[in-house]
Amino acid sequence: MARKRIIQLMVAFFVVLWAFGPAHGVSEIRIGVIGPTTGWATMFGQNNLDGVKLALSEKDYKFKGTPIKIFTEDTKADVEVMRTKLDSLKNRDKVHMIIGPCLGHEGMAAVDWAARNPEVPVLVGYSAPEDMTMRKATYSLVRPGWTGAQVIFDFGKFCAKDLKYKKIIIVGQDYAYPWDQAAGFIRGFLENGGEKVERIWSPVEAVDFSSIMAKLAGMAKEYDAVLCNCGGAQVVAFFKQWQQFGLDKLYPQILGQANVPLTPMLAEMGDTLLGVYSSLHYYDGDPSPANVKFRESYHKAFGYYPSVISVQGYDCVNVAFKAMEAIDGKVDDPKAFIAAVRNVKMTADESPRGPFYFDKFGNPVQNIYIKKVVKQDGRLMNIAVKTYKDVSQFGPYADMPEKYMAAPETTRDYPPGDKASYFKEIEKYFGKDYVEKLEKNKGWPD
């Protein structure tokens, strides 16, 4: 009898404990963070993770008293490993949401995983392929980030209309992300008065550009400017050889793709980058209070100034917090959580990059800044020379996303780079009216 009594008491005790425990359904909010933290792409995964950590430490790792735990996983930039780690986060750690991944090919694999595991919300970090939130979009995956083309459409327009260039050469690494960048640029450039874009692709790992430099020197008479469409170590090599070959005297201007003047690179490369134009949805020299606070506290926490990659991780957490507030912290209901995430509207005070909200595909509609590298307080920084407000991932085609998605996928030589054949293509996919409108307005309306 005594034993039965003890059992009854114990049961009663646990029931009471359960009932008076934390008020909401979850006793702990578990967040998985995924990205490459070893290997060649370490910078991407680590910066994203640091952004996440900063945002969480600002909130003391708590949401209304409920503790938050993060689980970090390394993808090694390998999608098979990433799929396994995603499964681990889901099955082993039972996370409520996943932040990441950070690379293009990882992103495509993540969206495929998300479509099969719709019960785990995924907030994408730095991955930029447009199909993640276009042709392959899935409800449980939201990207508080960017697409490669989204940030560069308007740069093409800027080069054609404001800088008045007619012919441009793009030198880039030969893989999907630079192809997308080139495609977005070509659309903006040719539709706004540009005449020709020549693409030169170099092997992904190559750091010797001497043959390309010689070629560029020969082309200087015909072309107005060169756009460096590389990333990482290639940028350093490219700019060094650019000066060694004296090309800075042949061309008035050098342009960069979105990733070229990233913050860590500015510190490393010094004055060679001065005056480089590029475009992105964030610029480090933004004087807004949200950005100044973010930069200073980031520098204090990790000892270096953040780049846009860290902003992405930081914003992911803040978006998640805003969504949790809307549903009172019930992250154990993924459907409600995702719906809340998709409704989040970030204001200029909440994100270092400025205001943004999500379109129906789960990609932000946000400001795109045309940046220029200048020297401020003895340090190189990007400042905005022009801001394009509320740009969606479809850029100027925001009112006809279906037509945009029906056009062929970007490859190393699609869309075509000369005006005549490019216009033939857009007439085929966007219709005659669109071409006529372009000709009437002399490009995109401002």
């Binding site: 933290t37 070893t38 689980f71 970090t72 996983e73 390394d74 930039a77 390998d78 999608v79 098979e80 490993v81 799929r83 396994t84 780690k85 499964d87 681990s88 099955n91 082993r92 293009g104 090919h105 495509m108 694999a109 969206v111 495929d112 995983w113 099969r116 392929p129 199909d131 392959k136 030969d174 893989y175 999907a176 992300y177 192809w179 992904v204 996928e409 490859t411 190393r412």
Partner: protein
């Protein structure tokens, strides 16, 4: 020979036990463990393909992942782009991978030792470059997604990991027995002959090139089979699969487990893949620990983990057997070969 019988009995008991555990895995362990086992099996096939060549022929290939990937890409294309029904994509994948192996084999059988390694490295990188650049077919760096595991006998292997596990287990055991049978057969003996002294085998009238060629194609078939399951299970494929790191990882798994036995390849893969996931959950610096582990294995267990354990096992059971000269793969042999240079 009562001792021999006792040994046989114990071996039978052990195999029954291991077999029982393998079959019971989906019920006695978690979904997570089943997933890991599935991964170990398809990567194990890749490693086996490599260690078969390294162990039997003394030729270390750095392009086995290419055949793994070629069959994978074929499955992915036929499945997601053209929507062929189930048995066609994997069969086509195997056929195309074997054809590719037949083509590359013509080149690689002519060289040996370090030149074999270099040539396979080059050809492997060629396949990788093709996967990256030929984007109208392979979708370049982005890779092909939207591949779903087939329904076999009315059971969806996409929805149930257990079903996939058994589906693959059958083929995995098949591949392993295939290679084991090759090793035991006169063919295997001839391969080892080629490994130890090619000139003598040629002198005895064996068609050495043909032997090497056949071994290369057989090994590639096993890798291709692994690739089929890889693609179905992961649901995607991209150039990473055929990259140099994939090849090196298979080589490392082989070294870790031991290249002289098929079991070694599987155990090495299992350890590598498990550590990868388990350690990375504990610390961000897990690569360091794995590096130290490799150093220890290479310094103190040259035969790999399985090879070393087997040696102790045999020593304890049959002290007389251990006096047999230990087998070494030709490529790594340190002893001067008296036959080769008469």
């Amino acid at each position: 020979m009562t001792k021999e019988r006792g040994y046989r009995f114990r071996r039978a008991l052990l195999s029954a036990l291991v077999g029982g555990i393998i079959i019971a895995i989906p019920w006695i362990s978690s979904q997570y463990f089943v997933m890991m086992s599935v991964r170990v099996m398809f990567f194990g096939m890749l490693t086996m393909s490599l260690t078969f060549l390294a162990g039997e022929l003394g030729a270390v290939s750095l392009m086995q992942a290419s055949f793994f990937g070629i069959s994978g890409y074929t499955v992915a294309l036929l499945e997601s782009r053209y929507g062929f029904p189930f048995p066609i994509p994997p069969l086509a994948g195997l056929v195309i991978a074997v054809l590719a192996a037949g083509l590359f084999g013509l080149l690689v059988v002519r060289v040996r030792g370090i030149y074999f390694l270099m040539l396979t490295l080059v050809l492997g990188q060629l396949v990788w470059a093709l996967a990256c650049q030929w984007s109208s077919i392979t979708k370049g760096d982005t890779g092909i997604t939207n591949i779903y595991a087939p329904t076999v006998f009315g059971i969806s292997t996409e929805k149930s990991k257990t079903a996939f596990y058994f589906f693959q287990l059958i083929f995995f055991c098949g591949a392993m027995s295939f290679l084991a049978a090759l090793k035991r057969s006169p063919f295997g003996l001839m391969l080892r002959g080629v490994r130890d002294s090619e000139s003598r085998m040629a002198m005895l009238g064996f068609r050495v090139h043909l032997l090497r060629y056949a071994a290369f194609v057989f090994a590639s078939l096993v890798a291709a089979l692994g690739g089929v399951f890889f693609t179905y299970f992961t649901g995607l494929i991209n150039p990473n699969t055929v990259s140099l790191p994939s090849n090196v990882e298979a080589l490392l798994a082989g070294i870790l487990g031991g290249i002289n036995s098929l079991l070694g390849a599987v155990v090495g893969t299992a350890i590598l893949k498990t550590l990868d996931v388990v350690l990375s959950g504990i610390t961000e610096r897990y690569m360091l620990i794995m590096g130290v582990l490799f150093m220890l294995v290479i310094l103190f267990a040259r035969q790999g983990i399985v090879g070393t354990l087997m040696k102790y096992w045999n020593n304890r059971l049959f002290p007389s057997r251990s006096r047999e000269p230990e087998r070494r793969p030709g490529g790594f042999s340190k002893k001067p070969d008296v036959v080769r240079n008469p």
